[in-house]
Amino acid sequence: MNCAEAAECVSALFDGEAISREVAAHLADCHECRVRLNEYAEMGAELRDMASAPAPQAIPEGRWRLAEPAAANNWLRKWRGTMRIPRFAFALMLGVIFVLSGGLALVKARSVARGPVLVLRARISGRGVVASCTGRVTPEQDMCSFGALAPPGSLTASLRFISRDGDRVQIGIRTKYEPPGKTPATGYDEELRDVPLERFWMDPDKPLSVPIAGFGTMEIYGEFRDHEPPPPDPDATLDPGPDELRIWSPFLIRDNRILADMSFAYAGTRVQPLDLAIVLYVPKQGRFVFSLKPFDGAIEADIQANRIQFAENGHSYLLITGGPVARTGYAHVWVLHQPEWRPVGPGDLADHLFVSQAKLPDVLSN
C-alpha cells in the first residue's frame, strides 16, 4: 500500500471511522501520512477556532411565530379534524349509498339485458373494430354486410340475427378473405353470395371468435340495448361533428308525395374535409347531391335541425332525417338534383335506393 491509496483512509481515521489493518500498518511506518493526519487535525482546530471567534450574535426574534400553520397534509388527520357528523351515522350513510348504487346498477344491467336491440361489433387483429351493426332481435334478419382491409388482403363479411334464448343469441356469419391482388366484387352481398352461412351461439358478455380461412380469426362482441343507438356506430352522439353533414334514415317528400323512405340508411361526412358530399339516389327520380360547400349547378337549401327544404322547377322538396343534419352554425346546404342520372351496375342490383358519401369532384365527374 502506498500513500495515495491510504490518503482517503487518513481522512476517515481522523473522523473516527474504522480503518483496515493494512492501512493502519502503513500509517505506523509512513511519515507523510502522519503529517497529513496532523494537518487535518490542525485545520479542524483552526476551523473551529474561526467559527467561535466572532462575538456571539444576538439571536433575532423568530419570524416563525408570524406564520400560520399550513393545512394538514395527512388526509386521515385532516378527515378526522373536519368530521362533523357522528362516525356511526357516516358509516350508515356509506352503507346506504353502497346498497342503493348496487341496486341501481342491477336495474340498469337488467334493463339493457332485456333490450330488443342487438349491437354487434366485428374486430380483427391489428385493425381494431372494423364494423358495428345494429338490429332488432326479432324477427330473423340481416344486420349488416361490410368490407374491411385485413392486411395483407381484404375481408368481406355479413352478420345476421337468427334467434335469441334468454341472454344468449344465435347469429349467422358469412366471411370471405381475399388475398392481395384480387379485384373485389361490386357489392358485399354479391361477394358473399356463394359463401355458406355459419351459425354461432354467443353470450354477448363474451367475445365470439370466428375462424376465417386464409386469414385467422375475427372477434364478434355483442351487446343488448333497450334503444336504437344513433349512427354511424353505437357510441356516436346525435350531435354531428364540426363540419359534418349527416343523413340518417332519410325520408324524402316532393310536394305531397313520398319519394324515398330509407329507415336505418346512413351516410355522413364524419371527420372529413368539406369537399365530401352525400349522394341520395332514388330510382326513376335520379340522384340528389348534398354538400355544405357551394358547388356548380347546386341550389341553396335551408337546414332546420333534421330537415332540408328546397324548391326546384316549381316543386318543393322536404328531406327529413333521423337526427340533426349539421351543427347549428350551418343554416344552408347546397343541393344538385340530376333527374336523368342512373347508377352504372350489373342489371337490377344497381337500381336501388341508396345513400352514400363520396368526394364532390368525383361525383361531379360522372
Binding site: 490518503a7 482517503e8 481522512s11 476517515a12 481522523f14 473522523d15 471511522e17 503529517v35 497529513r36 496532523n38 494537518e39 487535518y40 490542525e42 485545520m43 479542524g44 483552526e46 476551523l47 473551529r48 477556532d49 474561526m50 467559527a51 471567534a53 466572532p54 456571539p56 450574535q57 439571536i59 433575532p60 423568530g62 419570524r63 416563525w64 411565530r65 408570524l66 406564520a67 400560520e68 400553520p69 399550513a70 397534509n73
Partner: protein
C-alpha cells in the same frame, strides 16, 4: 434520539414553547452554517428564518431513525439556501454586488484558515462546516446532503485535500510542519 423524538412530537402538536426552545438552541448555529453557503450575513439570517418558518408551518419529513433533529434542520436549511441561490441567479440585477461586498468584508475578518476556507467550492465548505464545526456524523451528512455514506467519505477527503492545498499555497506549510 429519544429527546429528538419527544421534541418533534411536541412541535408537531403545535407546542410553541417547544419550538421556541428548538429555535433558541439552533438558530445561531444554523445561521453561521448558512453564512458559509450564501456568503452574506443578512441573506443567511433570512434563509434561517425561512427554514424555521417552514418547519413550524408544516412539520413533516423528520425520521428519527435516519438522523438527529439538528441534522434534519440543517438539511432543510441547505435546501432553502440552494433556493436562495437559484432566485439570486434569476434576478442578478436586483441583487447588485451587495453579496460580493459583504462576502469580501466577511473574509477580511477571517484568519488565514478562513481565507483558505472561503476559496473552497460551496459544496466543500458546506460539507467541512457540518463535519468540523457541527460535528455531524457520516450518516447524518448523508441524510442532510442526500448522498450515500461512501460519497460523504470521499467528498470529505477531497474537501480536506483541497483546503490543505490552498492552505499550503498561502505559506502555512512551515507552520504546519513545526
Amino acid at each position: 434520539m429519544a429527546d429528538d423524538h419527544e421534541l418533534w412530537e411536541r412541535i408537531c402538536s403545535r407546542d410553541a414553547n417547544a419550538f421556541e426552545a428548538f429555535y433558541r438552541g439552533n438558530a445561531a448555529r444554523l445561521c453561521a452554517y448558512l453564512r458559509q453557503i450564501v456568503g452574506n450575513t443578512q441573506a443567511a439570517e433570512d434563509v434561517m428564518q425561512e427554514t424555521f418558518t417552514q418547519i413550524w408551518r408544516s412539520p413533516n419529513g423528520f425520521r428519527p431513525e435516519l438522523g438527529s433533529l439538528r441534522g434534519y434542520l440543517f438539511g432543510i436549511g441547505r435546501k432553502r439556501a440552494a433556493e436562495w441561490w437559484r432566485k439570486r441567479a434569476r434576478a442578478p440585477e436586483e441583487q447588485g454586488d451587495k453579496g460580493v461586498e459583504e462576502s469580501a468584508e466577511g473574509t477580511a475578518s477571517f484568519s488565514t484558515i478562513g481565507d483558505a476556507f472561503a476559496r473552497l467550492a460551496e459544496e466543500q465548505r458546506s460539507l467541512l462546516w457540518l463535519r468540523e464545526i457541527e460535528g455531524q456524523s457520516y450518516a447524518e451528512l448523508a441524510e442532510i446532503l442526500q448522498i450515500p455514506v461512501g460519497t460523504v467519505k470521499s467528498r470529505l477527503f477531497a474537501a480536506r485535500e483541497e483546503l490543505r492545498r490552498i492552505w499550503h499555497s498561502s505559506g502555512n506549510v512551515a507552520r504546519s510542519k513545526k
